[in-house]
């Protein structure tokens, strides 16, 4: 440690000290209301000194099933979001000013609207006597209402709707960062449009794709409201299981064990995709 006199002597140190003071209140809040409570919760899972609670999560068939269901749903949502978002992001980079404004509006208005409002709207659309079934019946296409709600399909539609913008934004940002001279050069060298996309645009946009996939996968893994409302009890995700343990069964140690597993999976996915992104960046300097 240096003496206070040395502190005063060095402007760089004074600067660091001032910056630290600026950040301190927020860091205190994050420590007291985020890091500490979460660690405290996680420690509850091993509070009895055994790994019994964690074993229950990974050995009991019922809970393993919920975990796999959650992973399956998160995976499906990620793939569907990517399939929808990539073309949209690509189109946005080519759109004129009016197209861009309209596109942004169509992305940002739902993005900023409450998940609850949107989930409710999907119930209106997909319900047994909802808008879609009503229209199909009036058109004579179906005789009995299709089961669009209270099943996996309904949950997927609702979740994809919430998460598509999270996929579009990073891909769009990555596409914008591509030097426009590169596709132009490829074109000058005689590459076809498809070849330009496949060999230039696509590889260079992969960091954005990875970032979007990580975000969407991680967010959907922890989803609660949409599956609870659109699944109608037919779809159980891990976040719903945690809520049930705390609210109905008051089984805090088991809720803590479930949380630990959910958090571990989340962090592993995040770290893995982070590594992939770095690889992609290296591959496309």
């Amino acid at each position: 440690m240096s003496s206070p006199a040395a502190d005063r002597a060095s402007p760089a140190r004074r600067r660091e000290l001032a910056l630290l003071l600026l950040g301190l209140p927020a860091l205190l809040l994050l420590g007291v209301l985020f890091a500490w409570p979460v660690l405290r919760l996680l420690s509850m899972s091993v509070a009895d000194g055994t790994l019994h609670q964690l074993e229950r999560v990974v050995l009991d068939e019922l809970y393993v099933q919920v975990l796999f269901e959650s992973l399956k749903i998160a995976g499906l949502v990620t793939v569907i979001c990517l399939a929808l978002a990539y073309p949209v992001a690509l189109w946005l980079t080519k759109a004129g000013r009016i197209g861009l404004t309209l596109g942004m509006f169509a992305l940002l208005l739902p993005f900023w609207t409450s998940v609850l409002v949107r989930t409710y709207a999907w119930m209106v659309l997909l319900g047994r006597s909802g808008v879609i079934n009503r229209m199909l019946r009036d058109l004579g296409i179906i005789e009995y209402p299709l089961p669009l709600l209270h099943n996996l399909g309904g949950v997927l539609i609702g979740m994809v709707h919430v998460l598509v913008p999270y996929m579009v934004f990073p891909i769009y940002a990555a596409l914008l960062r591509i030097d426009p001279d590169l596709p132009r050069a490829a074109e000058g060298l005689g590459a076809s449009r498809w070849a330009i996309f496949r060999r230039v645009i696509l590889p260079l946009s992969l960091p954005g794709v990875a970032a979007g996939c990580a975000l969407v996968f991680v967010l959907s893994l922890g989803f609660f409201i949409t599956p609870a409302l659109l699944g109608g009890g037919q779809v159980m995700m891990i976040a719903m299981l945690i809520e049930q343990q705390v609210r109905e069964l008051l089984d805090w140690p088991f809720a803590a064990a479930l949380s630990a597993v959910l958090l571990a999976v989340t962090l592993v996915v995040y770290a893995a995709i982070g590594r992939l992104t770095k690889g992609a960046r290296l591959a496309s300097p």
């Binding site: 660091e16 910056l19 600026l22 950040g23 209140p25 860091l27 809040l29 994050l30 209301l33 985020f34 890091a35 409570p37 979460v38 405290r40 919760l41 929808l84 073309p87 949209v88 189109w91 946005l92 080519k94 942004m104 169509a106 940002l108 208005l109 739902p110 900023w112 609207t113 409450s114 998940v115 609850l116 409002v117 949107r118 409710y120 709207a121 999907w122 119930m123 209106v124 659309l125 006597s129 909802g130 808008v131 009503r134 598509v164 769009y172 074109e187 000058g188 449009r193 991680v218 922890g222 609660f224 409201i225 409302l229 976040a239 945690i242 705390v246 809720a255 959910l262 989340t266 962090l267």
Partner: protein, 270 residues
């Protein structure tokens, strides 16, 4: 060399069609609640049999709904103020510090978006129960601040990274103190980031349900009230509430586009 004619070929048309379909998919649920909210039918019926303002009247005349709405505004306003006053200075630390370990704090500040909300909710709940903060609106506001901080730090941090610090040093060289230089030179140039961070903090709190479900107790926020309404009895009052919210968001979006030049772009590429 003659430039090859760039015609909008079949792929471009297909791409535009596909994008349009996705935009319709995104907008459809927002549009569908409008006719429902002015329906004269007592239950979900589509197309509505007639026009009526009754659901809006019920929303605005029901003290429960209005209380919940006002409470949500209070929570979101306090959350925004807290998230900005804490988050903007934190961004300065995270962007400008040259200490080696700073990336750890950077991860910590971004972590509340990555850690599933349900985990954060029950963690804070277990502590607030002891402090007897359940059912207090400011407890919800403080918890929401934790969730809103990452948005502020990411957006303002991005703005700050793009800011040329030598302007600040020039002001100091001309005799301004550092706080004055930041206030008069740096912050005005960060306006787009600050505006979008503020709006995002506000909206993230105003819409938040999971934390509020655990912490708000009997004094419900608007999302909690809506959730209960959807669970118990779906009457078109909730459509009227939804339409009011969608219009408010559209207004905010318009205002941001107008006053925060480039703010929307920052939101997009955060």
């Amino acid at each position: 060399m003659p430039r090859r004619e760039r015609r909008a070929g079949l792929p471009a048309i297909l791409l535009a069609c596909f994008a349009t379909v996705v935009f319709v998919f995104l907008m459809l649920p927002l549009l569908v609640v409008f006719p429902i909210s002015v329906s004269s039918a007592a239950y979900l019926q589509f197309p509505p049999p007639g026009f009526s303002w009754q659901w809006f009247q019920r929303y605005f005349n029901d003290p429960d709904w209005i209380d919940a709405t006002i409470r949500s505004f209070k929570v979101a306003a306090v959350c925004t103020v807290l998230a900005m006053t804490l988050g903007v200075p934190l961004s300065f630390l995270l962007v400008r510090s040259r200490r080696r370990g700073i990336w750890i704090l950077d991860r910590l500040a971004a972590a509340p978006i990555i850690v599933p909300t349900i985990i954060l909710s029950i963690s804070i709940y277990s502590i607030f129960v002891r402090l007897q903060l359940i059912g207090e609106w400011y407890g919800v506001a403080i918890a929401h601040t934790v969730l809103a901080l990452p948005f502020v730090v990411i957006l303002v941090g991005a703005g700050l990274r793009g800011f040329d610090e030598s302007q600040e040093q020039a002001a100091i060289g001309l005799g301004a103190s550092w706080p004055v230089a930041v206030w008069r030179i740096t912050l005005p140039q960060l306006r787009p980031s600050l505006i979008s961070a503020g709006f995002l903090a506000f909206i993230s709190s105003f819409d938040e349900l999971v934390v509020a479900m655990f912490l708000s107790g009997a004094s419900m926020t608007l999302p909690k009230k809506m959730f209960d309404n959807i669970m118990m009895e779906i009457d078109p009052t909730i459509a009227a509430v939804s339409v009011t919210q969608i219009l408010l968001v559209a207004l905010c979006l318009g205002l941001t586009a107008l006053f925060g030049k480039g703010a929307l772009a920052t939101t997009m590429s955060r």
